[in-house]
Amino acid sequence: MTASGAAVAGLSACAGKPENASGTEGSGEMTYRTNPNTGDKVSLLGFGMMRLPFIKDKKAEDGRGVIDQEEVNHLVDYAIEHGVNYFDTSPAYCQGMSEESTGIALSRYPRDSYFIATKISNFSESTHSFEASKEMYLNSLKYLKTDYIDYYLLHSLSNMEDFRKRYLDNGILDFLMEERAAGRIRNLGFSYHGHKEFFDYLMSVHDRYHWDFVQIQMNYLDWEYAEKIKSKNTNADYMYHELEKRNIPVIIMEPLLGGRLSKVPENILAEFKEREPELSVASWAFRFVGSYPGVLTALSGMTRMEHLQDNLKTYSPLDPLTEDELAFLHHIAHLMMQYKTVPCNDCQYCMPCPYGIDIPGILLHYNKCINEGNLPTTSQDPEYRKARRAYLVGYDRSVPKLRQADHCTGCGQCNPHCPQGIDIPKELHRIDAYVEKLKQETL
């Protein structure tokens, strides 16, 4: 289905026609941005290799899932064909298989036709040593079948202590700077999830390390509200302007918040569609980040061909937001803040839970029910019965019983991994208590 649909779409795209009746743009060229330091011409759409498609219900011998490599190749082919040239992976992604999969897909093309971004994801204590961290770097080269990396990131900096343990004390940052000097790392930067103060610190040491780029979480919700959502995070507008000031290229992650900015509550959807009935909700989020000239590329974890096609349409070429549209998105962000969703972007960093809980599954189902109005607050709600059934039946469908929130032990081993700073056990226990109320009908 997907393959044939894509083929049809591919043909029509080759013929230079809009992909469907509603598409009036997207037939043009991809928008590119130039890296001021290296002159790289980077596509505004970057391919995030964090949400690669897996073969359903298939398990390898070691218990891990199996990536649908054929589909990955197909997606990469289509992306490259339509001008995407930036691919962002990490040793941690997709149960540790993303780099290898990315390597397989990309090595079929000339090495100079694309940019690779990967990271030093030495989160686990066992990888803090210099040797282990260096091995991670060398493995990345091996898996990606290359002898240099275009964009190399210190993965998810969040606080001083962590920074020191992972990169300073073991001397790996010095090593990486040597590698940069030797040309095996063309750009060295970091991705950031943390407090404003530490971000300021990292900016203050720019002269010492010379960050070639920085990857931040930016979208119209986090622009002004990141701190409000979780106090440990920094508003995107602050970070963007700090980086712009220093002429550091900005790479955007979570432009769509893992889909939270495309699957929106009905009344918000109505506002979007009223304004631009033919545009996808997701396209607004991509236009938002693309409209800032300091942005080198916006990463999107595209699991399905439809995601890729829609994003390509948005950025081929980019139609920057007008002042009015920008104001409209700020208004939307304000509306979204009224919904008490859990800010989970399904990045899976918290997984696997040692006790088998499907953390993102539980949180996403909860969010989905909030967005669909299936989260009754009292049994007096006119739609109470319908909503209750939708929540409970949908819960069992989304998450197997043994992986639901009631099995969370509260051990807290997940918490340090959440880039969004969600107190996962607390949220799970809250949701569990809510589900209990639904089941017992004591709302």
């Binding site: 040692p354 059934r389 949908g394 069992d396 469908r397 099995h407 509260g410 051990c411 089941k439 009908e441």
Partner: protein, 517 residues
């Protein structure tokens, strides 16, 4: 006409009773749960005098229409027999008269009563017709129904509908399943060949109602003047109770199916008042000396029903008495010393003596807690285990549906105060000890607050009197569960939700006699 009415009524009862065992959502129970409660033996065991009296009066008035309409096992045999008959006239008219096998009927009945009095529920359950049928449906057909439901649930999920939800299908108890399958095969074979053999030789309910129906007000009668002795009635009688040569009908075996009325081409058979025009000659037809036989029969019947009633009454008294050896069911995981039975069961003793193992509660349990036990004396009678779910506070379904009074009705509020067991903590399995992590999931889910979390103490250190690091803990102590058995109701939330696997670090032991907090 009468035959059609009987067939339609039977079809309605049969379908709905079958659905009672298939419908795991409890929707049908809300409307037709009474159909299980009017089953004869369950009603006796529940000391449901009203129902028993009505059924007796019904039989005394109309004959064994209970067996033809209300009893699902009887109707099942009719269906099998009818299917065979559809193959052609030869097959439809395949029966012949046979003398009653009284010694077998009374023998089985006596054994049955002894089993009930002795509390060997499993033997009684084996013979009880309604329960045998319940087992057949819940063990053999419910899985098919659930798979069908799961297909619908799968489709519903695809079209974003919440109309169906999927249900785990699992083998609850192998011996029970085998017994159900064997019963089914035996019933089908007997019915295929000889119609109502089971009802008229084995079935204890059939035997008891047979006595009654000998004196029924209305009965099928052969008009000797019109009868041409063609034998059609006998050859079409699945109960083998018509002796066309003697123009006699064995009313203890006649299930009032009315087939013979339609079969008779000369209108010689009618369903009418038995005593209206009774002549001495006609009375003789029922066999031998009319007066004394009737008196004997009456005495027999009275003593037999009295016996059944006494057995039930004795049980009712015994339920208040403590003591005796509890039946311990063999459990694999975890090994419980005492079985757990649902709130409303009063005590193991009361439960086992009333339960006819019909599996109705097992069929409706939404949390997969109830399943037939494998213990010899309680074989097929349900018990609880918490590896798939726990006895949720809002659910009282088993107590609502039980037709035999083995699980008496309780409200959700009452249930939350009935102690059916108590939790036991197993140190070596607890993840706080083994994994050195925080947990407390048992305490978090205890509906009665019976679990308190207390700091771990390294017991051996104190025991040997030389504590390392002077008893000072540098890190905040992890907490382990401690159980207040005074508050614990044995619902199994802790056991089910305990993260330790495969053996929970906290499990429930049953109580022989349930008590209230």
């Amino acid at each position: 006409m009468l035959r059609k009415i009987r067939a339609v009524l039977a079809a309605i009862f049969f379908t709905i009773i079958t659905l009672l065992f298939l419908d795991f959502t409890g929707t049908i129970h809300a409307w037709f749960g009474w159909m299980a409660k009017i089953q004869f033996l369950p009603a006796i065991l529940a000391l449901n005098a009203g129902v028993v009296i009505i059924l007796m009066i019904l039989t005394l008035m109309f004959g064994r229409i209970y067996c033809s309409v209300i009893c699902p096992l009887g109707v099942l045999q009719d269906i099998v027999s009818w299917i065979n008959g559809r193959r052609g006239r030869k097959h439809r008219m395949r029966f012949s008269w046979s003398p009653a096998k009284s010694w077998l009927r009374y023998g089985v009945l006596a054994l049955f009563i002894v089993a009930i009095v002795a509390g060997i529920g499993s033997f009684a359950a084996l013979l009880e017709p309604y329960s045998a049928y319940g087992r057949i449906v819940s063990n053999l057909f419910a899985p098919l129904y659930q798979w069908g439901n799961n297909v619908l649930a799968y489709i519903a999920e695809r079209v974003d509908s919440y109309a169906f939800y999927s249900k785990d299908v699992w083998l609850k108890n192998i011996p029970t399943c085998i017994i159900a399958a064997v019963t089914f095969v035996i019933i089908v074979v007997l019915a295929w060949k000889n119609g109502r053999t089971w009802c008229n030789t084995i079935c204890p309910v059939g035997t008891v109602l047979g006595w009654l129906s000998r004196y029924s007000l209305l009965s099928v009668k052969i008009d000797k003047d019109k009868c041409t002795s063609c034998g059609l009635c006998t050859r079409g009688c699945k109960a083998s109770c018509i002796d066309y040569k003697g123009h006699a009908i064995d009313y203890s075996r006649c299930v009032a199916c009315m087939d013979c009325i339609d079969n008779c081409t000369h209108g010689a058979i009618s369903y009418s008042f038995r005593y209206r025009r009774q002549t001495p000659a006609a009375a003789t037809e029922t066999g031998g000396n009319p007066g004394s036989d009737t008196a004997n029969g009456r005495r027999n019947f009275l003593s037999a029903t009295a016996l059944v009633a006494t057995a039930a009454a004795m049980n009712a008294q015994e339920k208040k008495v403590d003591g005796g050896l509890a039946v311990i069911a063999d459990k694999e995981i975890p090994e419980r010393k005492t079985a757990i039975v649902p709130p409303g069961a009063v005590s193991l003793k009361h439960f086992y003596q009333h339960c006819t193992a019909c599996q109705l509660c097992v069929s409706v349990c939404p949390n997969d807690v109830l399943r037939p036990s494998g213990g010899l004396l309680t074989l097929m009678q349900p018990e609880m285990s918490y590896e798939r779910g726990y006895c949720r506070p809002e659910c009282t379904k088993c107590s609502e549906v039980c037709p035999a009074g083995a699980i008496l009705p309780v409200s959700a509020a009452e249930k939350s105060a009935i102690q059916i067991g108590h939790a036991v903590w197993i140190r070596k399995n607890c993840i706080v000890i083994t994994d050195n992590v925080e947990c407390g999931n048992c305490a978090r889910h205890c509906p009665t607050g019976a679990i308190v979390m207390v700091p771990v103490r390294e017991r051996h250190r104190y025991r040997h009197g030389n504590m390392e690091n002077d008893g000072e803990d540098r890190t905040p102590a992890l907490k382990i569960p401690a159980i207040d058995t005074e508050k614990c109701i044995g619902c199994g939330a802790c056991e089910n939700l305990c993260p330790a696997r495969p053996f929970s670090a906290i499990y429930v032991e049953g109580h022989e006699v349930h008590s209230e907090i």
